[in-house]
């Protein structure tokens, strides 16, 4: 499944990084601890988090993640959004909680 397809199925908002909507999803990782994501996420995964600052983009880029999804209606900071557009890594959002969103993603890509 691509990020675009996931976005359509779950009605996710696209904040930025549209260029990367064609990214293929290999799985997901859910964490708000950055070194946990650094150590345990893998290439092509979607990352579900409530962290909105720019360092999440640095991690997504370094780990070649497919997309970041912000939960609970969290809005990205301005420089986070700018880097998402610069790097073409989709930054998505939802008003769903981490639990609800993760369950739905799991059902779709397991």
């Amino acid at each position: 499944m691509t990020v675009e397809q996931l976005k359509e199925k779950l009605g996710l908002k696209v904040f930025g990084g549209e260029q990367g909507l064609g990214n293929e999803i290999s799985g997901g990782y859910v964490s708000d601890l950055l070194s946990d994501v650094m150590g345990n996420s893998d290439t092509g995964q979607v990352w579900v988090t409530l962290q909105t600052h720019k360092n999440v983009m640095a991690i997504a880029s370094l780990k070649d993640l497919a997309a970041i999804i912000l939960v609970n209606n969290h809005q990205p900071e301005e420089d986070t959004l700018a880097q998402s557009n610069e790097e073409g890594i989709p930054l998505l959002g939802t008003d769903m909680s981490t639990f609800e969103l993760s369950g739905k993603i799991y059902e779709l890509i397991k």
Binding site: L34, M38, G39, N55, S61, L62
Partner: protein, 137 residues
């Protein structure tokens, strides 16, 4: 080949910039993807530690046909007990840093897991030197 990058303590908006440059450079050199991935994890954690815990630092990168050596030399408070600092979950990060999602005490364990060789030396109230070695063989 030799490269150097500066790191500014406390400046989280630039954290990861040097690691990103190093990743690009290793890709251009056609280094094995698995080695790049592990190098990136170890280097990023070391870079962020300088930002989070020290005042300033320099990264020295050397690549030759045998492998990669990345040395981070910082001026900072140093690490009084390196063995304790290496334990997963140990962190002295400030509450501000923790709010950002840093401070899980997983950075040094990540470095240990991903580097082929990790050497840390530190002098309290002077600074810390971290050496990450990756072999091509």
């Amino acid at each position: 080949m030799h490269f150097e990058y500066q790191i500014e303590g406390g400046n989280f908006t630039r954290a990861g910039f040097a690691s990103s440059e190093i990743k690009k450079m290793l890709k251009q050199l056609n280094v094995d993807l698995g080695i790049i991935k592990r190098t990136v994890v170890a280097t990023y954690e070391a870079e962020v530690n300088v930002v989070a815990h020290a005042y300033s630092g320099t990264i020295y990168v050397d690549v030759d046909e045998k492998g990669i050596v990345i040395k981070l030399v910082d001026e900072g408070p140093g690490i009084p007990d390196i063995e304790q600092a290496m334990k997963e979950g140990y962190s002295t990060a400030s509450s501000k840093v923790r709010e950002m999602g840093f401070g899980a005490g997983m950075g040094l364990p990540n470095m240990k897991k991903n580097a082929d060789e990790l050497n840390i030396t530190s002098e309290v109230e002077k600074g810390t030197t971290v050496e990450i070695r990756m072999g091509f063989g």
